[in-house]
């Protein structure tokens, strides 16, 4: 568990190890339960999951644009 006082050295260490992957949750824990244990691996996994889930925003933006264009074309020009 990381306490206060993160240093620049900490950041450099992780920047030099960009492909580091946290281990998965133990068999008896769901992912959110594992995250709540607050271990470093669990918290890293939570961040990765949040980051991955953000692609939903990109997908929905494109979907909204596609629906809008389709509806405008279907309705046609004013007049």
């Amino acid at each position: 568990m990381s306490e206060g006082g993160v240093t620049d050295e900490t950041h450099e260490a992780h920047e030099s190890d960009p492909v580091r992957r946290p281990a998965g949750p133990p068999d008896d824990l769901e992912r959110p339960e594992w995250w709540a244990t607050l271990s470093d691996d669990a918290l890293r996994d939570e961040t990765r999951a949040n980051r991955r889930a953000e692609w939903w925003v990109l997908a929905t933006g494109l979907l909204a644009m596609a629906i809008t264009v389709a509806l405008l074309l279907w309705w046609g020009e004013p007049g």
């Binding site: 949040n50 933006g61 909204a64």
Partner: protein, 492 residues
């Protein structure tokens, strides 16, 4: 160029001014999906600093038990979390409630009593900040409102951003969280998706955040000290002031969309008006206070960028832009009716596209809230505006087609008046909106005010409040801290 040509050109310029906020809104919504790529998560590490949670409280006995109990249940190391409740000389049972909780959670909840209260939220916060900074235990401070409820995972999702030393402050996603929200609260629920989940993600991409939500602002100790060890007391938007000061000093402010905080919001037009007038006046004050920042790009922050300035002023000056555009189309109507009809139709074609794109994008990014507020989302511009859009789409819809269904027709005078109303609807809607709080306060007035709210729309109500804020600031009206009444109906 003839006088008529010059008049047409002037009218078109006025109309174009109304398009600027529309384009700014589209720009924000085009930035929004980019948050999947340009976000701060790639720079964070697990980080659980010692946090003091600061809760300003004036007569909050009804809501404190729920919010503080939920704080004690946060998935955060208990030995790194302390809560300071600054009781601003409350006259209700607030002291007893807080002391009871302090006894239940010894050493974790602290009751700080101010004997002289009523000076405003910033003074109350500063009392707690002074005490917290006097001790070196605290590494970060979370400033919240007394009524908000934090989801168990929210705080740790905020603190991780402070592992990046370039970050000074972090804010969360505040959602309307009433168990059974009424119409006004549902409008706010939808509005918060646009103003927070969407707009703040876009601002993350831009690298300039407009405001740390008052109910969820996490500061590093370093940031608190750097902004002067306290909150500015001269403005009604103290949270925005702190946000901008932080960014001007070169530290980042980050919005964390997955840290969710639930809040009870006003459920009457009058209460909404009171709350938003304070916010809108605060924004006018901020615009003045940071006047040397706007449209002056600088390397260390994004507040001076053209895009951020465009977004800020589009929101601030939206009612003025709409009024100018209305004047432009009415002027054009006097010069050349058929040209005015073409411009009107083209404008609303753009408007309809923007309305669909923004409404759909907004509803998609927060589906649980969308399930509660989708109807208010589609009604956000108001039924009147939807009628105007349909009239722009099918020009003879209300003059020939619908009357034709009933075997009638609208004569020329009637058509002239209908056109005038359609062209001026933006200003008419704001004028009706201005009367809503007054109507609501009459006996049985709510039964009239709520349907009128759906007719004029929530957007025009916010515009009318902005106009009121300009007037109040111009008049130099007294700067009072009008607390929004809360009853503790938030559910987790």
């Amino acid at each position: 160029m003839t006088w008529a040509d010059a008049g047409r050109l002037l009218c078109l310029t006025l109309i174009a001014s109304g398009l600027v906020p529309v384009l700014a809104a589209v720009y924000q919504y085009l930035l929004l999906p980019m948050h999947a790529i340009f976000n701060h998560w790639g720079k964070v590490e697990p980080y659980l600093p010692r946090v003091v949670v600061l809760v300003p409280a004036w007569n909050e006995a009804d809501v404190l038990d729920a919010s503080l109990t939920r704080l004690m249940g946060l998935e955060y190391p208990p030995d790194r979390l302390k809560v300071f409740v600054v009781d601003d000389a409350s006259t209700d049972r607030t002291p007893e409630v807080v002391q009871g909780l302090a006894a239940r959670y010894p050493g974790r909840i602290v009751h700080l009593r101010r004997e002289k209260g009523g000076e405003g939220k910033a003074h109350t916060l500063n009392h707690g900040i002074r005490i917290a900074l006097a001790d070196d235990w605290m590494e970060a401070m979370l400033i919240m409102d007394a009524d908000v409820v934090y989801r168990p995972d929210s705080l740790r999702r905020m603190t991780r951003h402070l592992s990046d030393p370039k970050v000074g402050a972090v804010t969360a996603y505040i959602k309307e969280g009433s168990a059974k929200p009424g119409p006004v609260a549902r409008f706010i629920g939808y509005e918060y998706i646009t103003a927070q989940a969407a707009a703040r993600r876009s601002q993350n991409v831009l690298g300039a955040l407009a405001c740390l939500a008052g109910g969820a602002q996490l500061h590093s100790r370093h940031n608190l000290v750097a902004v002067g060890g306290g909150i500015n007391t001269t403005t009604l938007a103290e949270d925005t002031y702190t946000t901008m000061l932080t960014e001007l000093q070169g530290r980042k402010v980050v919005f964390e969309p997955t840290a969710v905080v639930l809040a009870e919001e006003p459920d009457s037009v009058a209460a909404l008006w009171k709350q938003r007038l304070r916010w809108a006046r605060g924004n006018v004050q901020i615009t003045r206070a940071f006047r040397r920042t706007w449209f002056r790009p600088y390397r260390t922050h994004g507040l001076g960028s053209l895009s951020f300035g465009l977004i800020w002023f589009s929101v601030l000056l939206l009612p003025i832009a709409l009024t100018l555009a209305t004047a432009g189309i009415l002027g054009l109507f006097l010069f050349d009716e058929s040209f005015a009809a073409q411009v009107f139709s083209g404008l609303w074609w753009v408007g309809a596209g923007v309305y669909l794109f923004i409404t759909l994008s907004t509803l998609f990014i927060d589906l649980p809230t969308a399930r509660r507020t989708w109807f208010e989302g589609f009604m956000f511009p108001g039924i009147g505006t939807l009628v105007v859009m349909s009239a722009a789409w099918v020009p003879d819809l209300y003059t020939e087609r619908i009357p034709g269904l009933f075997g009638g027709e609208v004569n020329e005078t009637g058509q002239w008046w209908m056109t005038l109303v359609l062209y001026s609807w933006a200003v008419i809607a704001m004028s009706i909106a201005r009367a809503l709080p007054w109507i609501e306060k009459r006996r049985g007035g709510r039964r009239v005010a709520i349907p009128l709210l759906y007719l004029v729309g929530f957007g025009p109500v916010l515009c009318a409040i902005s106009v009121d804020s300009f007037v109040k600031e111009w008049q130099g009206a007294a700067q009072t801290w009008d607390k929004t009444e809360k009853s503790g109906k938030v559910v987790g």
